[in-house]
Amino acid sequence: MTRVVITGAGCITPIGQDVASFAENLFAGHTGIREMQDRPADLHFTRAATVEDFRQQDWLNANQRQIAERSSAFAIAASRQAVQQSGLVTAYPGDSIAIIFGCSTGGRTTEDQESEKLYTRGGRIHPLTVPRVMASAGTSLVSMEHGITGPAFTITTACASGTHAIGLAFHMVRSGAVKAAVTGAHEAPLTYVFLKAWDSLHVVSPTACRPFAVDRDGMTLAEGAAIFAIEALDSAQSRGAEILAEIVGFGMSSDAHHITQPNPAGPAAAMQRALDDATASPGEVGYINAHGTGTVANDRVEADAIHRVFGERARTLAISSTKGLHGHAMGASGAMELLATVLAFRSNLLPANAGLAETLSQVDPTIHLDHILLQNKPASPSLVLSSSFAFGGLNAVLAVRRFEP
C-alpha cells in the first residue's frame, strides 16, 4: 500500500504566522488567547484567540485582494508556505494534485458586513459578496495561484472539517487517485453575529479555555489556518523532499445522537477506526492530541471514549489539548492540532495541555486520565492520534507516525 507523508506545512494562527513561530510559541506555552480589541460590550466573554496584525497585502496579489476575504486570505498564505516548503507544485503536474480544505463558517466577515449594511440602511449588496462568502473560495483561489487542476473541494463538518479534509486527502493519495494533495483548513469566523451566537449557547469560557481542568468553564473561540502538502513516500524520497511525518490512518464516525451533545460511542469508534486503518493496536499509541475543547461535556465524553478504546492504559497515556494556546478555530482546529502533533515528532517533545498550570487548575479527577500533560514532555512516540469531534456528532481522527524509512 502506498505510504503517505507530509512534506510541507504552513500556518496563520493566533500563536504564529509561520511554522517556526507556531513551534516556538507552542513549546514556550505562549498563548494566543487575548482580550478582544473593539469587542462588543454585550458578551459574557472578553477573550478570543485572534490572528493579530495579519498583513493581507503581504500575501495577496491585486486580483486575490479583490476576492479573498479573511478566511480565504488565511488559506492562501498558509498554502503558499506549505507548497513552497514541499516543492509539490514543481514536482507534479497540476492535474495530479488535489486540494481538499475544511471550512465550516465560510466568508463571515463579508457576509456580516453586507448584511449589516442591508438591514440597517437598505440599498445594494456588493457584487463580489457571493464569491467572497462561499466557503469554497479558499480552495478555488489556492488552485488558481498554483495551477492545481486535480480534484478540489471544501468539506464542512463543523469543528471536524479540517481533520476530515486531511483524512480524505490522505486516503486519495494512498489509493493512487492523486499523486499529491494540498490539504488543511481555514476559518475566520469572529464576527459580531458569530460571537453573539456562541454566547447564546453558553459554552464559551468567560475566562480562558483550560481543557480537562476540574474547573473548566468552556471553549475559547479562534481563527486561523493550517495547511499541509502531502504525497506518496516513494515520490517524496526519489525527489529528495524533507519528510515531516507519515500519515498512517484515518477514522470517521457519526454519533447519530444529538446536534450539540457529544456521545462517547462515536469518538471511540473514530479512534478505533483510525487505528484499524493504520493496522495498529491501541498499545502502540504514545500520545493523543485531544479534541479537548474545555467544555464540561466534551472533555468528560472524550475521556470516556479514550477509556473505551485504551482500557486501563488510558490512565497513563500522554494526552494534551493545545486549544489553551491556539483556541478553538472551528474547522481549522484539527489542522492546527495536526501541526502541533507533527512538531512534537520533530522536537521530541509532547506539548503541554496549556491553561492548566497557568491557572493552577487541577485535572478533573472524575475523568480518570492521570497523564494529562501539565508541562511539555520529552518523548519520542512512534504513533500518535489527533482527534476532532464536531457538534452534531461528526467525528474524525488521524493516526500519524514518526517517519522511519
Binding site: 491585486a62 486580483n63 456588493h126 457584487p127 463580489l128
Partner: protein, 92 residues
C-alpha cells in the same frame, strides 16, 4: 477630459491595478481585460458614488471607457430630471 471621465479612469485603474496613463477614453474593456466580474464591480462603485442606477440593458452595451462615461452622465441626467419626468406614467 471632464470629471466623470477622470473618475472612471481612476476606478478602472484601481480595479485592474494598472497605471491610469494606460487608459484612454477610447480604450475598450476587452483591451483593458475588464471581465464580467470587473464590470459589475465597477458598476457597483459608480452606482454607490453617484447614487444612480444604470439599467441592466445599458450595462450590457458599455464596451469602452467612453460608453461608461456617457452611461453615467445619462443616468445622472435622468435622476436630476426626477422620476415623473423620466417616467411620466409612473404615477398614472
Amino acid at each position: 477630459m471632464n470629471q466623470v471621465a477622470e473618475e472612471c479612469i481612476a476606478l478602472i485603474a484601481k480595479q485592474k491595478s494598472i497605471p491610469p496613463e494606460q487608459i484612454r477614453l477610447d480604450s475598450t474593456f476587452d483591451e483593458l481585460a475588464v471581465d464580467s466580474l470587473d464590470r459589475v464591480s465597477l458598476a457597483f462603485d459608480i452606482e454607490e458614488k453617484y447614487d444612480i442606477e444604470i439599467p441592466e440593458q445599458k450595462l450590457g452595451q458599455i464596451k469602452t471607457v467612453n460608453d461608461m462615461v456617457s452611461g453615467i452622465e445619462e443616468a445622472v441626467r435622468q435622476k436630476s430630471a426626477g422620476p415623473e419626468k423620466a417616467n411620466p406614467s409612473a404615477n398614472a
